[in-house]
Symmetry: none
Subunit: 229 residues, 4 copies
Amino acid sequence: MEAKKTSTRGKILDAAGEIFAREGFSGATVREICDLAGTNIASVNYHFGGKVGLYRELCHSLFSTIFDQFPVTRDFPKGTSPEDRLAFFVEGLLNRLLEQQAGEGIPKKSQLLARELAAPSPVMDSLVDEFVRPTAGVLFEIIRQILGPRASERDISHCLLSLVGQCFYYGMARPIFTRLNFLDLNEPGIVEELARHVTRFSLGGMAGIRRNLENTVAAKACSGGKGIG
Amino acid sequence: MEAKKTSTRGKILDAAGEIFAREGFSGATVREICDLAGTNIASVNYHFGGKVGLYRELCHSLFSTIFDQFPVTRDFPKGTSPEDRLAFFVEGLLNRLLEQQAGEGIPKKSQLLARELAAPSPVMDSLVDEFVRPTAGVLFEIIRQILGPRASERDISHCLLSLVGQCFYYGMARPIFTRLNFLDLNEPGIVEELARHVTRFSLGGMAGIRRNLENTVAAKACSGGKGIG
Amino acid sequence: MEAKKTSTRGKILDAAGEIFAREGFSGATVREICDLAGTNIASVNYHFGGKVGLYRELCHSLFSTIFDQFPVTRDFPKGTSPEDRLAFFVEGLLNRLLEQQAGEGIPKKSQLLARELAAPSPVMDSLVDEFVRPTAGVLFEIIRQILGPRASERDISHCLLSLVGQCFYYGMARPIFTRLNFLDLNEPGIVEELARHVTRFSLGGMAGIRRNLENTVAAKACSGGKGIG
Amino acid sequence: MEAKKTSTRGKILDAAGEIFAREGFSGATVREICDLAGTNIASVNYHFGGKVGLYRELCHSLFSTIFDQFPVTRDFPKGTSPEDRLAFFVEGLLNRLLEQQAGEGIPKKSQLLARELAAPSPVMDSLVDEFVRPTAGVLFEIIRQILGPRASERDISHCLLSLVGQCFYYGMARPIFTRLNFLDLNEPGIVEELARHVTRFSLGGMAGIRRNLENTVAAKACSGGKGIG
DNA sequence: AATGAATGAGCCTTCATTCAT
DNA sequence: GATGAATGAAGGCTCATTCAT
């Protein structure tokens, strides 16, 4: 639930979120944003220095809010299994990507995120460092533990991308699979359901990878002698 | 490898692919496209009726070419396992999404595709019906067989999206994970490596799902008696 | 008399001359120019690349026209005195600076010239080289002959600036001395009258300078002995 | 030497002098002036009622200061020759026009003056009456005496403009003749040197005019008889 | 006395498009 | 078939100014 801002700055940011998400950066116009915000057309330049500045600040603010709202890790009790950590991570990530305004069918934040991922603007650079990299680091460690000591960094990367890809796809490709009637993301409880599925699917996938790693090594160890058969 | 067109029409299409992929629909300008194509600024309107017409035709032509080039199914010998069919599907899909111009690092086609998925233009509608739906149908059937008879349509959908999500993510999020140094998609043989990974990961994932389905049913069947423990 | 152009380019140039002269570069607006020219507001950008390009081309065209129209030297018969050459020069220069549209009281060209001299824009650089320098060279030689062999380059420069200053002042300070009722530049024959005056005044001035130079040298030559007295 | 003001008003005036001189009235912006002055952007309107008011006050203050600093006449001892009065006048006028800030190569005051002469703003009207007219009156009388009783008002005006023109030209056309390497106004003692030259040149010029007047009258008187030859 | 926020008007420029050739 | 010239609409932005504090 998003509290409607009363300051001019806040109203512009709210409106910008809507318009940029719907139209993209080039498609959006300052005029449209100001009309929606109910402010003067010069206010964007006054408060943000221009269209680009507004976009930058909006992204930052959006990412900041959403990342604070849905953490992907926390102070787990000692001995918590990596599988449980993964479950928590997946639910957090999906919430970040699928979160939407109460009452509105338009997930403006994830839409904007998806745009940036498909066509990263210069704004992206700082965001990746500030928001994405730490998140990826957390997941990387979890997966390393799940895959076990034989996994190379490349193995871990592959699995990480497999897991993240599933989550992102829900956020980005919504227009596609909505059209194909595969899934309705507006159902209540859908995020939790998807989190359970992604967790289970990915754990299964990683188990397969791990098994393969171990077999490969075992096979190598027996090379020269007879294989197990 | 893309044969350079010599007709005005062809030169415009080539240039449009580059510019639209880089700038998006609103960001691209007819002038820029015509400059790159070396044609008159009025030629776009003459040949395609306008910017929208050009975009529509470009998408169609791009999808058409790429879908023909990389099939996701074929006349398998009778008795081919669904796992083998899946492997073929995954490699085809990844090729479609990661294909790039020979010698150029810019995967203009998948970039354009990614854009359309993140922000589908009106052009999308016909494309989904013509290209995406049949592809999805093929995969749906393969997964149905792999998951076994106990899987509901929803289960199949979930797994389908999990698999497709992994593949798309490679095509769309390249700017992100390139920045994070997770993966370099320019390595030779990378598509095949990814295909092997996605196939194995997904088979593992689906195996997990299937096992769970069977256990759940079994547990229900034994309800009243003792669980396995 | 200025032939009204019929091409869009020409109409814009005509209008620009009027507006830039009246308002200065920053004060003038493209809209006003296009309104006066009866063309679309985008035509300036199409034909001249922008406001600056239009200004540059206008200055060039104006200078070119006016310098061709009023020469300051010609093929004099052998033995023509430097005084006669000077008279010709002065009349030519004054015509350049005071020339005005038939029927209009606004001397747009000299006004524009005056502006450039008081606040030279980047456009000025090429104009000085192309137009002003050769003119100055002609005058420099005439004055050198009038002042005689004892004149240093500095003496010549001083006299040159004295002469040119008189002429320019008529072109630039018109708003001032019109207000002070000193002179009405709209009288017929005024340019010829001024030319006669400036020529006579300057010849007198230079005669004074020359006399002084010769006396000084003579005095030096007699230093130690008696002066002529 | 200009004392740096500490009051907001004074700081704005100082800054305005710099900016208006460099950019002209339309080219200068209130924001730029306030930035340089280190004051709030609303301060110009608060203190001067607007951009025009600031400009008016600045001109007034500038003219007032400079005219007080360099007089063009004084209480001469009885019997002082008009030639001596002229020499004093010329030095005073040149000082007014060429005066520049200590240590800075930019003569902001004369630049501004030159602008006003080339393109007088409405502000000019009052300034002409208050400052220019009295100065011109002084010179008019001096020249009347030098030219002698046969000179008409028109003769006097011509000579006056010839003299004033030389002086103004140094102040206004500096960018031109600096580019042409005719003169470097930054040399020490240059103003005195120029004053000597202008005085001598003009006295020579007026002597020529006077001689001509007398010859003309004499010739008329002798009409019917022989001319002097 | 002074200011930060906000504004309406207007700026130059760029856009996709049209039209006569 | 193809194009150079021209255009109306709209773009982001800057301006001097105002107003509540």
